[in-house]
């Protein structure tokens, strides 16, 4: 591998950076290995799934133990009996197309026309009252309330038509939504099956590595339940070609670490 920073270059399978100033940041080195750093350039093998679990080994690290162990098994080229079925289901999930439907606009329109109709009905009732009062006083010469009532009733009828149309639109949207929910149901069932298969596959791989794991971890100093101890063991068990960022002092030097882990090492 090759590390470049501000014109300085480090090369080799094992790179010791612990004495370098300014100090290197572990997170940044890991980002550079993953190709997502702007400040630092690391030219190396592309990190795989196992590297995502054990790419940076430091005290206080979190480790998803069985996922990491399964990734180590995979890095050896091992497979699980569930793989084929899993791939098949993933393929079916990808093929399932789920159409977009949005009923929000239709719901909103319906609510609005409902409110408007309510207001318009009140207006019509008020005008009807006026017209009635006017009939009782034929001496008043005005036709305005009659015309206003006519206009209000016309408007009410328009609103009712619009309301009916909004109802129909929503009904159709609901029908489409129901079909979409059927698809969602189908996908959810497939996803649950895929998740169960993935879990079973992980268990299969962990079980297969278990004996080796126990023997290897016993050969390491440090408590067995410490994430660093576990991660180091898993790194050794797997096949890892991208460099591992080492920020713990379990080994005499970077070379010893690289030999034991059987992986390229950047030691900070």
């Amino acid at each position: 591998m090759r590390i470049e920073r501000n014109g300085s270059v480090w090369c080799g399978r094992v790179i010791e950076l612990s004495g370098v100033t300014p100090r290197f940041d572990g997170e940044q080195v890991l980002d550079a290995i993953n190709g997502t750093s702007d400040e630092l350039r690391v030219v190396c093998e592309k990190p795989g799934d196992l590297h995502a679990h054990v790419g940076r080994l430091r005290p206080g690290m979190t480790l998803r133990r069985s996922a990491a162990l399964a990734a180590a098994a995979r890095s050896r080229g091992w497979s699980a009996p569930q793989d084929e079925e899993y791939e098949k289901i993933q393929g079916r999930i990808e093929e399932l197309s789920i159409p977009d439907t949005d009923t929000a606009a239709a719901r909103k329109r319906l609510a609005e026309t409902t409110d408007e109709i309510e207001r318009q009905r009140e207006r019509v009732a008020r005008l009807q009252g006026k017209v009635k009062a006017l009939r009782e006083h034929p001496e008043r010469q005005t036709s305005e309330p009659y015309r206003a009532l006519e206009r209000a009733m016309q408007k009410l009828s328009e609103l009712e038509t619009e309301h009916a149309a909004a109802e129909q639109t929503l009904e159709r949207a609901r029908e489409r939504q129901r079909q979409r929910h059927d698809r969602h149901d189908e996908r959810l069932a497939l996803e649950d099956r895929a998740a169960n298969l993935a879990r079973a596959a992980r268990k299969h791989l962990c079980d297969r590595l278990h004996g080796e794991f126990t023997r290897t971890i016993e050969s390491l100093p440090g408590p067995d339940d410490d994430p660093v101890t576990v991660a180091l063991t898993i790194t050794r068990l797997g096949e890892i070609r991208a460099p591992v960022v080492l920020e713990c002092d379990r080994f005499d030097n970077a070379q010893t670490a690289a030999d034991w882990l059987n992986a390229p090492v950047v030691s900070l």
């Binding site: 789920i98 977009d100 439907t101 949005d102 939504q177 979409r180 929910h181 969602h184 149901d185 996908r187 959810l188 996803e191 649950d192 998740a195």
Partner: protein, 112 residues
């Protein structure tokens, strides 16, 4: 009450979180769906879920069901008669044939 149904794994886990942190609002829980209290707070939590997962959360409002108000007597009578049938293996369609009890297609057509 408000019936909340989720249709994706992520929406389902959001619903699970609501249930965990707002027990008072969640009246009943069925895995990936739930009944929320018909309060503003229930609506708030339901709408929040749908805001987060617009395509994957369905909200319906439920109401109490009173068969004496909503279901015609002929249907209730048919239920009672069918429960009392002689052979438990007789399907309803066969049971209703030639009797005064409503047939399946008719019931399917009639809205409540």
């Amino acid at each position: 009450m408000l019936l909340i149904i989720t249709y994706t794994r992520s929406a389902r886990s959001s619903l699970r979180n609501v249930r965990r942190s707002h027990e008072d609002t969640v009246v009943r829980w069925f895995g990936r769906s739930a009944l929320f209290e018909a309060t503003e707070l229930g609506a708030f939590h339901g709408l929040r879920l749908r805001e987060k997962h617009p395509e994957a959360v369905q909200i319906e409002r439920t109401r109490p069901f009173n068969e004496y108000m909503e279901v015609p007597e002929r249907v209730r009578k048919a239920v009672w008669a069918y429960a009392e049938r002689e052979h438990t293996s007789t399907p309803y369609a066969a049971f209703a044939a030639g009797t005064e009890h409503p047939d399946v297609a008719t019931m399917a057509r009639r809205k409540l």
